[in-house]
């Protein structure tokens, strides 16, 4: 299914990219991260295992087992530090 990826903060900087369309085979957020990591290069580094990556699906905080849906907007970012 096709989804829209949005990157923020250090992840956006490491990828040199703020957003992109992506065709995913993954059913859940965790699977999507593994897929992106497998692209290698900057993706493997920015989304490396052990590095904390938070996921939002359609602008709501999600977990590794949260389901993806066709056309979803998926935000990937480091832990938040506002306030």
């Amino acid at each position: 299914m096709k989804i829209q990826l949005r990157y923020f903060a250090s992840i956006r900087e490491d990828l040199g990219l703020a957003s992109e369309s992506f065709e995913t085979q993954a059913a859940h957020a965790g699977g999507l991260l593994a897929e992106l990591r497998a692209r290698g290069g900057a993706y493997a580094q920015a989304l490396a295992e052990g590095r904390p990556v938070r996921v939002a699906i359609n602008q709501t905080m999600a977990r590794a087992d949260s389901p993806l849906a066709e056309g979803a907007e998926v935000g990937l970012f480091p832990p938040v530090t506002g306030g």
Binding site: A56, V80, G82
Partner: protein, 161 residues
């Protein structure tokens, strides 16, 4: 009443507090919190700890949605009238105001609690990121485990830091 504002401009605390309770004769308590940019050198005295400026990034759309949801959640838990949250983005300098949270209620207890709850929630669930300019270069601020613990006191698992 507008409950959430994300803006680059500064805010006037006195004017915000006055407008939040204007004409509302039910109000007997107004509680507020203001977060500001620290220069850690002023605390430690070490030149390397200087914070020259701070850049705040956010996730437009999600930020507003997340804060609106946390105010709704606060209304479920505490007996208060109005709440307002203002958060600045963009380039800030030491001593600048970053965030404003204010709550009105009949008695102080509920507004104190709601104000603290909203800040604890915002720290770990609202998509903002701080980047500091230091003598060593630009650095993204790390999330604190203590902020997750602060939200846990309200029975909510933060899963942030």
């Amino acid at each position: 009443m507008v409950r959430v504002r994300i803006q680059t401009e500064d805010f006037d605390v006195g004017a915000e507090l006055a407008s939040l309770r204007a004409g509302d004769l039910r109000v007997g308590a107004v509680c507020s919190f203001v977060g500001t940019v620290r220069d850690t050198r002023a605390i430690t005295g070490a030149a390397a700890d200087e914070i020259r400026s701070m850049e705040l990034e956010h996730y437009p759309g999600m930020t507003e949605k997340a804060i609106e949801a946390m105010i709704d959640e606060a209304h479920q838990r505490f007996d208060f009238y109005e709440a307002r949250v203002i958060h600045r983005i963009g380039l800030l300098q030491p001593a600048d105001q970053i965030v404003f949270v204010a709550v009105t209620s009949a008695h102080r207890g509920e507004s104190f609690k709601a104000c603290e709850f909203l800040m604890d929630y915002l720290k770990t669930q609202a998509p903002f990121w701080k980047k500091e300019q230091t003598p060593q270069g630009a650095q993204w601020v790390d999330a604190r485990v203590s902020d997750d613990a602060a939200l846990a006191r309200w029975g909510i698992e933060a899963r942030n830091a």
